[in-house]
Amino acid sequence: MDLSAINPVLLIASLMVAATPLLFAAIGELVVEKSGVLNLGVEGMMIIGAVAGFATAVETGSPMLGFVAAAGAGAALSVLFAILTQYAQANQVASGLSLTLFGLGLSALMGQSYVGVKPPQMQKLDIPVLSDLPVVGPILFGHDPMLYVAIAVIAVVWAVIKFTRIGLVLRAVGENHDAAHALGYKVVRIRIMAILFGGACAGLGGAYISLIRVPQWTEGMTAGIGWIALALVVFASWKPWRVLLGAYLFGGVTVVQLNLQAAGVAIPVEYLAMSPYLITILVLVILSADKSSAPAALGRNFHAAR
């Protein structure tokens, strides 16, 4: 065992990379849940984004186009969820589960010919002087552009929810859809927009795994990150900046765990690999006492009688 081989600067830099898929997926789901909809299909939308982004990037040679395709694919899958829950009045838990099961199957089918292929690399940010600074350089200025996009999305979502009229309407729909409907807001339309946004974000998160984090395509490669993202929204008490905090915490656990595996700690690999999931449970337990911040209409379907 050799812990000195772990470089703290690289550790923090790779922690940020490990956290970014979670960031994307969780901030998308946060918006969905703010509108009062519980979409358990995050895992399915992520993996569809992962395969669609990967395939597009390989075929076109452009990772950027890959991300665009991934967002499109995630949103397209979420349309199914929107139809089921908003028009067909189906149970949200069941619909979300079906989205995940369907997404996992479809992604395996789509990705068959891409197993073992190497995707095109995304250019890392390289600002003269800044990126070359010791410590600060690799942590703050040496990443791929999508990592900054994820943080920007968090900032935008926070600002929109807190300061704009759109955010107010979104929250109103999520807190009390009957009152929002009575005020003349289009509850179903607003929720569909939120679901689509969540799908696009989950797709981006998935593509970040297959194009940057790993980068490779394997079946079922999201390995529960979509579910951790759902837990993260609870952890964040539906507050955008806390999603960032939580994602970096989980990213940290993942990276430290991987580093310990590499360093050959006396704990068996399997038990280290369990740790992110166990810590998720632990965090859920600690935070589940306070449910007051959850949107009041979360998970309830809306049907206007007339």
């Binding site: 149970n91 759902l230 399997e270 369990m274 337990v285």
Partner: protein
């Protein structure tokens, strides 16, 4: 203009018809999918649904229906109890793994002793393992109000890692030349779950049938079953009627965990034969589809389990005969749940054409 009107009572006719309509719609959509993959859609659907039952080699495939259907029915029966009451155990896959590990562990501890009590002890161990694993989300939910969906799912990943550790370590066959995986139960007479292998009969099939009867009686003739249904349909009324929600959570999660654990034990001691890293094939997740497809009704689940087993077997045949990718069947099963949920609309709502009346 198309409008939806809520029915005063859910339509019984549609409630029975939607699974059939959903299966038909899935066949059509699945056929289109297969056509996109460059396969003859009619041939593919025929291979999946007809070949295992009435084809040339049906004598071989029919017993497989029991082998694949039993764990699905067993798990789905347990899940349906919780789903009825709004308690979502989606970690059956994890309970299945842990049940199998505990049961197999007991069996392996007795090896090579031949005695009548080895298998019953394994069965008890399997049930206990699954129950214990399900008690984690149940306890956390009742004690701290933690979301059981997320906890039970996270525990699937934990269980998978645990399985890997066990099949590479503690439970590994000491005479296996270093290969991962335990001893094979099929060559250990006291511990095998087979009753008649060529007929596809193993104790899991028996247990599945008992579970169906048990669930039917519970839901229709017993107070606990009534409480489950009441909680699902009117949680507030249930509270006023004195239903103890914590006890219901413990009961539903515990029972479903126990049944999933049993399914795992019967599988590992029979069809799979040994504990290996990937002996679990996702029955715990497919059982969710089975539970919904069977309308959360015991008899419906029995039929749905048979149908889902058929798609597994038919999928295997289509894979070897038509080179249909195995993932295509997974998509097919996912679609089934989609269509079911969508058509379920007709059970609770009436579609009316024409202008809405002004109130």
């Amino acid at each position: 203009m198309i409008r939806l009107e809520k029915r005063p009572q859910p339509s019984r006719a549609w409630s029975l018809a939607t699974p059939l309509v959903a299966v038909l719609a899935t066949m059509v959509a699945g056929g289109m999918l297969f056509a996109l993959l460059g396969k003859d859609p009619v041939e593919a659907i025929r291979t999946i649904f007809w070949e295992p039952l009435f084809g040339e080699f049906a004598f071989y495939y029919r017993p497989q229906l029991l082998v694949k259907g039993a764990p699905l029915v067993l798990i789905a029966i347990g899940l349906s109890l919780g789903f009825k009451a709004g308690i979502w155990n989606i970690g059956a896959e994890g309970q299945y793994i842990i049940g199998a590990l505990v049961g197999a562990g007991i069996g392996l501890a007795f090896y090579p002793l031949e005695a009548w009590y080895v298998f019953p002890l394994m069965v008890i161990g399997g049930a206990f393992g699954g129950w214990l694993w399900a008690m984690i989300p149940a306890y956390l939910k009742t004690r701290f109000g933690t979301n059981e969906i997320l906890v039970s799912l996270m525990l699937v990943y934990v269980a998978e890692q645990f399985l890997a550790s066990m099949s590479l370590g503690l439970l590994r066959n000491p005479e296996g030349h270093g290969f991962p995986g335990s001893r094979n139960f099929n060559s250990y007479d006291s511990a095998t779950s087979w009753i008649n292998e060529s007929a596809g009969m193993h104790w899991g099939v028996v247990a599945a049938l008992i579970a169906v009867i048990f669930a039917y009686v519970l839901l229709n003739r017993h107070m606990t079953g009534y409480h489950i249904r009441l909680t699902g349909e009117a949680p507030r009324a249930a509270k006023f009627a004195g239903v103890n929600p914590a006890r219901l959570v413990l009961f539903c999660l515990g029972t479903s965990g126990m049944l999933a654990g049993l399914a795992g034990l019967f599988e590992v001691a029979g069809p799979s034969g040994q504990v290996s890293i990937d002996f679990n094939v996702g029955y715990g997740f497919t059982a969710i589809i089975v539970a919904f497809l069977g309308r959360l009704h015991p008899v419906g689940i029995l039929l749905a389990g048979g149908l889902m087993a058929l798609t597994y077997i038919g999928g295997d045949i289509a894979q070897s005969n038509l080179q249909l990718p195995s993932a295509a069947i997974q998509v097919f099963q996912g679609m089934l749940l989609f269509f079911l949920l969508a058509f379920d609309l007709l059970t609770n709502f009436r579609i009316s054409l024409g202008k809405p009346e002004v109130a």
